[in-house]
Symmetry: D2
Subunit: 340 residues, 4 copies
């Protein structure tokens, strides 16, 4: 594509995070334009497109993909549709940015990867934490040898409370497929020279114990052993009353890096109750710069043909751990990753 016109991006799936990505393209990325939105819900695409001055709105993904002006798509549909849309978009010759999880099975993952390879289009996946200032500084410190050989890792996701989800409508294993998948990518990315070899997971319904019998899980702890001996713990919970809490910790033979702070800014109040800080309450507030940088990276990938962010293979690797977790919870045992 010409270097001197903006990249034309289209959104597929106008839900919460999709709408936010569309807004990032339209309002926060200067060298990209939002040219279309597709969503099957009547009116949804049109309303979002109108609010962001995007010229086209569709209820059909295929019609959007047939639009020759679209250089790349941002896929933010429900997760179960991700792979098929990736494949269709690739076949239409569009660059693909896909929200996590890119796929729900390894076969799907392979299919998505193959389709984009075959079409020669970039495929980038929505592991946005890699662009958070603290996390990429942490990775840089690891690369610079400041923690030495990695021995212990931790990554956690605590979604902000109060919890407003509906356990009945939450797909089974959401906590692994949608939440902890972030932590799995983070842990793999922060332990760059190692491969995971064994996974053990515990999951429960502690936020909503009334749904404990339905297969609903809102709390999980996962341990991952790597081939260099290092051990990681990932942890998630759907209801942190104090805010959106994302943290990482990597400890090694030379030291440790810690990343993440739920405090919203350095503004600190001292009053009769003590010392306090307000907190981040939404991912889209906390990570606004990282979300923008993630899409800027996708724009670069379109311009250069090279994906520097998380790839389809990265998505597959994180998915393999999520799948092992599901088996581990079901069979109550440690799962070797070679068995996948």
């Amino acid at each position: 594509m010409p270097a001197h016109r903006p990249v034309n991006l289209a959104l597929i799936g106008a839900g919460r995070i999709g709408s936010f990505h569309a807004e990032s393209v339209a309002r926060r990325l200067v060298d990209a334009d939002l040219v279309a939105v597709a969503d099957p819900a009547p009116g949804a695409a049109g309303r979002l497109a109108a609010s962001l001055d995007a010229p086209k709105a569709y209820t059909s993904v295929s019609e959007l993909l047939a639009n020759p002006e679209v250089d790349g798509v941002i896929i933010a549909t429900p997760a179960r549709f991700h792979t098929s849309v990736v494949v269709e978009a690739a076949r239409a010759g569009k660059a693909v940015f896909c929200e996590k999880p890119m796929a729900l099975t390894l076969e799907e993952a392979d299919e998505a990867i193959a389709a984009t390879k075959s079409a020669g289009v970039p495929l980038q996946v929505g592991f946005n934490r890699r662009w958070d200032q603290a996390f990429y500084e942490g990775r840089a410190a690891i690369d610079a040898g400041k923690v030495g050989s990695v021995q212990l890792l931790r990554s956690l996701t605590r979604d902000p409370g109060p919890y407003r989800g509906n356990p009945e409508k939450t797909p089974l294993w959401t906590i692994f497929y949608e939440t902890l998948i972030h932590d799995f990518d983070t842990l793999l990315w922060l332990n760059p020279t190692a491969k995971p070899v064994e996974v053990t997971a515990i999951a429960d319904a502690l936020v909503r114990p009334d749904f404990a019998g339905n297969g609903f899980h809102d709390t999980a702890v996962v341990t991952i052993r790597f081939d260099n001996g290092s051990i990681a713990v990932a942890e998630a919970n759907f209801c942190a009353m104090y805010g959106y809490d994302i943290r990482g910790e990597v400890f090694g033979s030379g030291g440790m890096v810690m990343m993440g702070d739920v405090r919203r800014s350095s503004m600190t109040l001292y009053d009769k109750n003590g010392v306090s800080n307000d907190t981040w309450r939404r991912d889209t507030d906390h990570f606004v710069n990282g979300y923008t940088a993630q899409l800027a990276s996708f724009v670069d990938a379109i311009r250069t043909g090279t994906v520097t962010g998380p790839t389809g293979e990265d998505a597959r690797n994180a998915l393999a751990i999520a799948l092992a977790c599901i088996t581990s919870v079901t069979e109550r045992r440690a799962i070797p990753l070679s068995s996948l």
Copy 2:
């Protein structure tokens, strides 16, 4: 102007901060375009305009102001030219964003205010700290009564070291006109119900003591008394070896707010030397979001006709304190502000 086209902005003065503002307009503001750059240095405007895809470059301010496409100008010339350019821009009907200090005398300040009022154009001044997340949260806490009656305030600016300025080329009183003017605005803004009544300043050349005899100052401490009894201290130094350190503190009958942290992110390294964080080394890194928000506010002012950021009057008020400091240092006494 039409709501649905970007605002057309032009830069006057392509130095360090001007170039950064131009980049903010071109790269970080979506609903504004950089349409022109003027700088008298041969080639300077052209190079900057080319790098940011701005269509026009001028060596003459008057020619830029004659360009009917320009809705508003960003004035980032050397300070001694600010007022005359504000006046000329206002007469040309352009909205005006002027870097601090807007003027070097109260007469100039009055002239700039009168010219923009008379022309009916918005006038906003570059006190960017008001848009820093921590500082505006601090002001909000004060407005919400969380510190009670304000009693003690502190604001400081420590420019990052090593110091690379040339004391021989630094205009006299730069520490008050250009550096502490930020702190004076901050202190006035954080003490919204009070008026300053007396100023005492101490200034010295401690970073470059070899220039102490030339009137050069690189270190200053200022105390300001307000009509509600509150007392503020402003402090500046040109060489903080550890980074770009901007902090504020407001203490009152109910508590305190503190704002500002030189740490660059939550990424914390623990190693054999202890616990450490990297720091902000440049204003344009530390305050990138605030600088963008400041210009977004100017764009809003152009669209709505209402300036919600710092006005010409705010610039005059901060200047009055800077001028009192100069007299205080010269005459070695406290200066009542009514005497100005």
Copy 3:
């Protein structure tokens, strides 16, 4: 015993921590006297006693226990002797403070508990973290309902580096018996209404991989499930290059408490390398106040007959988890605690 004379304490085992406890008694506890020291190594007891003005030194424990002036003993022998010395001391009618682990088997633990009960003497165990200011404030917050129902817990011990231990002389399973036993007590104590039901442990030799084949472990991660659904992670490593790092975290339906900071004080240095703090390098520096308070509590237990600190039963509960860890590592599976 009379309220108005100091309690007479004797030390059994003049190693590193025993010597420190003796010093605490002699120098930091005002209402207790160090009256005797026993150690089988020739001269060891005598040297320590002399340096602390303790009147008696023995190479025989039995002789020390026969001293009628001794009200209570502090047992700091190698762990494998703990139980037999507890029993002998109890039979001699002495109050017993025993370093962790109080026993290496549940049978031993029962024996120690029975002997002290039968003799009617207080038995307190050396889980010193309960007296650390941050940890007891954390427990108080939990008791006050500030975290709601406990859901996720973490406790970690990282011994300061560089690691100077001799893997060949380190008893098998030291990481569970001696190190993580602290974390197990901490987790049980911070989750006061729950009982542990299942334990899974991973252990490895990452600090000294050259000893990985000998059964030596220097790194471990343990997950514990409780009967209220809460899940705890305990983690240990023998070589934190940055200092002595002890932390706890308890997350629940209402919020979270975090405890522990390796920074030595609020003294913060800002220099060309960034922002930094020195760290605690030794347990006896970091926890000096807690160690003293622990022994003051033992003195109170002697005076009042009531142990308010960790009891023999607490020692048994923590030991049960350590034993389950050993089985878990050996058999590579989750261990139900009812099976013990």
Copy 4:
């Protein structure tokens, strides 16, 4: 005196801080005994002595000083009596620890110094911050050259609120004589190679504005210029609703040290209101270790004959600044210190 018996200390003045010092001697210092208490208020000395098992109580200072068992005295009378008691104690051959301010005039200070010199007894003054862990680490960093040449300093004292003092009974200039005298000593001690040359002070009644006309001051800001060009700001307020806030900051050519944190421990609560820490509410809680170390230093001074803590000369130097502050407030001008 013999090295192997405890030092015998006596308290003169059984008020709040005196009683606390007595308790430190009786309960927290092992190699010192509290042997006597004197206080003119009927029963006061007796009650305190009884509660701490001190054998003697007096209403007469002279009688206490005639007790040959007393090695040293801790003077904690109202400030106006300090000098005369120091002189009388010195003449009685007792080592002297005197609370701040040691004197209210320079003549008194000289008299106290001369009396103790003439008697050959140690004289130490109660500037307890020097023993706070953060502050002495700060001074050590300065001595090690880590801040380079000192340029800017800050020290502040904010007493905990709510304010319960009686402005009518508060001696004039208490804020300088009793409160800021700590900060003056701290600033002199943290700037060890410099001498103060000029002082400017502002004081007001902001906590109790209803007493503003009576000469009562509860808020003050002081600037001090030193002969090396460095500039210090000292600040005090009688009512910090958030706790007992003592901080220091020293900035120089190489960096900065900051000392002091009102947070009580690392225990941090995260809940629906954000992130919070409890605070220190009393000097005797916050600085308990420093207060004990201060008296241990006095005991050492008695044993060795050498005072390593703040001396009578240090007390005189801090007083000289307090006196300059009083003149500065009265005459509303900067006061050269050579004029004292």
